[in-house]
Symmetry: D2
Subunit: 286 residues, 4 copies
Amino acid sequence: MFIYSQAANDSDTVSRKVSKVLAQGKTKFQEYLFFDSTIHGTCIALDGDIQSCASDEALYHEALVHPAMLAHPNPKTVLIMGGGEGATAREVLRHTSVEHVIMVDIDREFVELCKQHIPSWGARAFSDPRLDLRFQDIDLYLETCRHTFDVVIGDLIDIQDWNSPAATLYSQGFYQRLQKHMSDNAILATQAGPLVAGQLDGHNHIRTTLLSSFEHVASYGHVIPSFYHLWGYTIASKNAFANEAPDIYKQYVHRAKERNLDLHATGIPALSSAFALPYSITNQLN
Amino acid sequence: MFIYSQAANDSDTVSRKVSKVLAQGKTKFQEYLFFDSTIHGTCIALDGDIQSCASDEALYHEALVHPAMLAHPNPKTVLIMGGGEGATAREVLRHTSVEHVIMVDIDREFVELCKQHIPSWGARAFSDPRLDLRFQDIDLYLETCRHTFDVVIGDLIDIQDWNSPAATLYSQGFYQRLQKHMSDNAILATQAGPLVAGQLDGHNHIRTTLLSSFEHVASYGHVIPSFYHLWGYTIASKNAFANEAPDIYKQYVHRAKERNLDLHATGIPALSSAFALPYSITNQLN
Amino acid sequence: MFIYSQAANDSDTVSRKVSKVLAQGKTKFQEYLFFDSTIHGTCIALDGDIQSCASDEALYHEALVHPAMLAHPNPKTVLIMGGGEGATAREVLRHTSVEHVIMVDIDREFVELCKQHIPSWGARAFSDPRLDLRFQDIDLYLETCRHTFDVVIGDLIDIQDWNSPAATLYSQGFYQRLQKHMSDNAILATQAGPLVAGQLDGHNHIRTTLLSSFEHVASYGHVIPSFYHLWGYTIASKNAFANEAPDIYKQYVHRAKERNLDLHATGIPALSSAFALPYSITNQLN
Amino acid sequence: MFIYSQAANDSDTVSRKVSKVLAQGKTKFQEYLFFDSTIHGTCIALDGDIQSCASDEALYHEALVHPAMLAHPNPKTVLIMGGGEGATAREVLRHTSVEHVIMVDIDREFVELCKQHIPSWGARAFSDPRLDLRFQDIDLYLETCRHTFDVVIGDLIDIQDWNSPAATLYSQGFYQRLQKHMSDNAILATQAGPLVAGQLDGHNHIRTTLLSSFEHVASYGHVIPSFYHLWGYTIASKNAFANEAPDIYKQYVHRAKERNLDLHATGIPALSSAFALPYSITNQLN
């Protein structure tokens, strides 16, 4: 029997039964695994970290995309950094206000593998004329980019992988360069590792980096069952944004209606509650 | 190296390093393990299921106790079913309104082991004169019980263990007998297994059972990191109670202040958001 | 990280790191896995049981084939039952006395997979004009078979898999039918599961079955490191054969020289000692 | 469920179910675990390495002791280095020729734990008046030792643990000091780690060290099922000793009879065959 095994932290390991290995190899940038788990459907791991599983990728991607999109009054131009599965773009494009999405992923081969092995995840996005998909280093892309973005979504691999091409994308310099391409009330959202008391180094590193470039930074979390953790995200902006439950709720309901947005997996009650983290975590955030 | 291993579901297993085995054996009623994990502190397992770990038992017990206690305007008499570690009683007794707590746990030997191996968890409770601790079958106890309770807390082992003495405590008959000892606006809360889409049989069994006896039943969840799941709880009452985020929040803040209750691990924002479950779960609740 | 995990017995499990999954699927007859392990090279599992690994398949196949071949004074016609990897045939064909080898394996698709993924194992055999390879149920084959064999080698999957097509091949009826195709001093050898005191049910089942058809039956064992057990084999004949160390040694040396046979992995000292099992095992053989 | 997990090599890990943890802690010298496995009985691990299990400790200790004892024509004075369980002494004392056994183990606390948790293993030895048990560093002991030994048995923990107090006991200097206390035809035997092709560094290190002090060194192996490896031993002497199967067999039979020695677990056929290692191993010995 094949088992996919991944450390959850220094002490614990989660092992999952693999019913079928779909693809295993190395692109120019990263090692990939695509496999089926009876309980999670098709799962994708990059450099030894589960990225998404079919059973709950909608939770992960809705929680990544919609708080930032709904925090902005009228997002038209959106930048996606990474997001090779196509599911982040799919969620962004559900907002009818959106006119132009630029998705920059360094790894063309990985995106091709996703189109082959998880075609349903990104199909609607990849065929949407509003999507402009570029295979490029995001930092190089920004050098020549002439756009100003309303929302930026970072769907990069987890920060613990310091050897990955994504490591510099969590640096202060990068966010300062990025900010030049963000409109004044633009919102940045990024996945930000597990939210577990005592294991917040990765998440706090992202917070520190963002706090050096943005005046307003908020953390929120959503359980992604196949990750076996409360998963952390951060949202950041030069300007203030709603981040307390009752206010968020009203704003989200109003804007979702405006944009004809119907959430399937998370829901506005769950997303607007996602900022109410327990003290055991907030006490340890920097 | 010793490892504590437990299935999370049909596919996945969580293995945790054991730095020290403290106690292992069988009482008249159940098999117990007390062990230290570097990352979770002392952990307790009964019949192969982790019950609580020092690192986050406060999350588990606060989330179990306070929503029910705060949903009641003035809880004076409280019944705890199970709760051998003493931590459930500890949380109940933090409400200054409480005059009398009857804790009924069938397993005296397990409670003694808890006093020995995790003395700090229940110390304040076991020495509190308001606590009346009885080692008895809860169903037998109710036969002769003359009290009427404002709040009942079920801290019993998980429903998957059908051979455990706790199995009948999840039956309709039991809740009907119990209800005779509950005042009209009394609130029942019980832990109710993991809240994971596709794995809700246990949780739904409890809901069905409660719905047959109580008019109002609500589910809520809180992440307990050492359980590796969003953990489910249910709250039930003959009368309606607040269970939408903004109302709950105001009510909880007001009553907590009245009772001088200061939450350390969860917090009122987190607890009042705990009812806002994602659609992926609410769609599968019965 | 992928891990291949297999129970060694009711208590213990061996997990091995998988560096690359080569093939995984189901033929008409069995489930197969081909994967690379850094330490064992390419490994093959059928129905959840490791069959052979590149690092020590030579040990396994030499120990299976040569004792029977060397116990016969002049083996010309040989039947191989199973043996899809081609390595059993390769070892048989190294005896220059051999004129005709009939290999009957029910699973054509598995043999094709072996040719693709482990070509070096069976190459010499599959191209040898003395090999007659048939994809057929061995029992059906015997019905119309006109040959009489000097040596019969059973390289079938392990007896614990009672649902496998090989299960009937371990029955008394089968061996009685087979015997009609064996010359008077013909020798039968078969792999016979792990030789571990307290876990000899599988091995003893084969012994019982063979003892009902053959007057002389002997067990021997060879360590196959990637199996993590002393592996058992049985040899059987109507006539007596040498099975005590000094006699075997002389006979093997003499016949190996005659047939120009040079053992690479095991060696005649190791093979002639393989019958000297410890009392902890012989005490439990039936 | 508790599991005892130990790496077999860089790739593979063996996990065994633990039915009961008996003792776990740290003496002045080493970390110990005593636990029950349903399949192996009580097992002992030191510094993370299984030392012996009840199910096959007789195999391990017979294979360690008797080849050296039977290679000597009349062993009267025997030195045991380590051997805290008492089982090595037990086997040595079964030779009626033996008059005086000095057992030097550095770890008094570990020996006490063995007497408590596995009393039957060493009982006969610890109460035998011929046994002289000293808790001392063996190297210090030798400085003042006035004895000359016929047989020396090294039952020390495995060489992979370079931080253990036993590491220097595998050095050339030590064996040269030891040799001064050995009679001319004295025999040394020591356990020497797993005998697995491609993983012979530990075993070869011992061979190199012994070859620098003794003219004759031979390796042999015996399967110890609970170790999941062919286990290696070395025997060394200034003078030649029988180490080919037929000669050994005759010598062992003769001397065992003389000394009224009856082997229960291994047997003289198995022990005299133990030197016939496969070429896959002998090709890699230095």
